[in-house]
Symmetry: C2
Subunit: 339 residues, 2 copies
């Protein structure tokens, strides 16, 4: 299978490393031999129809800051030229999430679909802003559109809901979808003020310099939108989420909750077709009441009861493992239908 | 699809109710129209090649204590005659778990395989005692052998490990696999002695009159064996488990753990090809440290980190939903290969 990789940050680099380290097993266990035939970042691109040498690609990125130095020349094609003109079965969209307009990921995904390429996106922006129309476009063009890494990092939250409860019906779900805010709230439970906890999260690399994507609940809301569309069949976007972040949570609120054997968590919930993200008091005994950077989601289903899945919600290698799952699924589907 | 149901206790009755209540969706969403063509319990059997009327079947069981009263006559065939002579695609083995010899389930499963019928077992006994050879026999006879309901009740622990982590490798797992002992230990944490907690569990219907299957760790060990074979590819049986139950756990041990922000749990673990079931001190902050009758399993995988799944480990309707998942999987497989 030939892949075009758009965006070569931590996650995409981890994916390249994963392909390097697991290539033998991928072939022997899954009959899959992925080749990255083009890779684009802000500085330029690297192209090789026979498949890029991933070791060299990673070294170029590390030593020179861009994959453009893979060859002496450093090709100057832009992502759109690559997507439209390079032959490949799959495009991996791994540019940064932008929740205002979704660009440049939105255009990349649409172009890839129009040229008949299957898509794996780890970029939440286009999905949060236009899930229903992107899914329609994918169906219209007969391509697969997968995005396991957008929710839960390496924790297979979307797969669990979609595959493990066949024959049953999920009626609602709720959980912690953002590790940064969960870390901050956990630190406040230990006695830190909001500002000190935020500084601590920044120091540890959990929070961005401008942390509002996390602290104002946008990241959790984007994931909630993806889950509501994919799992519940709703047709919703960011504007359908009633969203409140954690910046108003006071240390006194956190202490009060603790006295009740509870904790304040930023809970994203889909219930009766309503989508909410807001700070909520959760009993310690509830399985979703996890600490640190963990994510947790509880699904309520009609027959098999309430089930919770917990894992790290981020991380380069973890999210790369989600990309690999998507790739195997696309391969299985393409293979099945070409038989 | 035609099913033979052997054993008609709580789980099999819940399954019949589930088929009754969901028949329209099963057909519209999964293209599946299951018919129970024979049902056997201790009192006799009911047979109808066109499919038994499930309402009447459930009423016969409820009012007369056996399905033999479904017809005026009450057929007197035994399970082996039914399995060998009634045409069906699937046999559901739902007789009680027996960990000493595995009968009568063992013979039922072997006969069904030999006559080319796919098997769904909710009976742990035969699997715990002879998983490797039963799986070999299933492969030899070209039939599918599924047993989702044997671990976790309705919580899809086996499916999660097998399907949601494709392309990754589970390196170890540990968890709480028995709800009864977890209930007893949770009650001891609230201050009850072992004996009072056990009495309470009996009163609530969580523990049997002779509770040693649970309290001595046999049930957890049986589930551990099933998981080790299915998920890790090990070839093991009950005798490979190092097993210790909870009857020696003292209230003072539980109190001491509580002071350490921990709790004593009956942990089943598969680590470095070693299988253990034993009371273990677990930090409260560990996601598997759940209370009451909940089950919880954490999987450690090579790339996607540690992931935990939590849910009720038992219950009629929950386990029935696991049978339905198995049935859909068998249908998908049979359909795919007959295409």
């Amino acid at each position: 299978m030939r892949l075009i990789v758009i965006g070569f940050g931590v996650v995409a680099q981890s994916f390249a490393k994963l392909l390097l380290s697991r290539s033998a097993e991928l072939y022997s266990e899954h009959g899959i031999k992925p080749r990255i035939v083009a890779c684009v970042d802000k500085g330029g691109c690297a192209i090789s129809p026979a498949g890029l040498n991933l070791q060299r690609l990673l070294e170029a990125k590390k030593s020179k800051g861009t994959v453009a130095f893979y060859d002496k020349a450093g090709s100057k094609f832009d992502p759109m030229q690559i997507i439209e003109n390079v032959d490949a079965e799959v495009v991996l969209e791994a540019t940064p999430t932008n929740l205002e307009g979704g660009e440049p990921g939105m255009t990349h995904i649409i172009s890839a679909m129009r040229t008949g390429k299957n898509i794996i996106s780890v970029n939440k922006g286009p999905l949060a802003l236009a899930f229903p129309s992107l899914m329609e476009l994918a169906n219209y063009n007969g391509v697969m559109f997968r995005f396991s890494g957008t929710v839960g990092g390496g924790t297979p939250i979307l797969e669990f809901a979609k595959r493990c409860l066949k024959g049953d019906r999920i009626t609602s779900f709720r959980g912690i979808l953002n590790g940064t805010t969960n870390y901050i709230l956990s630190k406040m439970e230990e006695g830190l003020t909001y500002d000190s906890a935020l500084d601590d999260a920044k120091q540890k690399g959990y929070a961005e310099a401008i942390p509002s994507l996390d602290t104002d609940g946008y990241d959790a809301a984007a994931k909630l939108v993806i889950m509501a569309n994919w799992i519940m069949g709703m047709k919703v976007t960011m504007k359908d989420v009633d969203r409140r972040g954690i910046s108003d949570v006071k240390l006194s609120d956190v202490k009060k909750a603790k006295q009740n054997n509870s904790a304040i968590k930023l809970i994203a919930a889909c219930n009766n077709k309503r989508l909410d993200v807001k700070p909520t008091e959760v009993p310690k005994i509830d399985p979703i009441c996890v600490n640190g950077t963990l994510n947790a989601v509880s699904f309520s289903s009609e027959h098999s009861g309430q089930q919770t899945i917990i894992g790290r919600g981020a991380g380069g290698i973890e999210t790369a493992s989600a990309i690999l799952r998507d790739l195997i699924e696309i391969r299985d589907h393409v293979f099945e239908h070409s038989n």
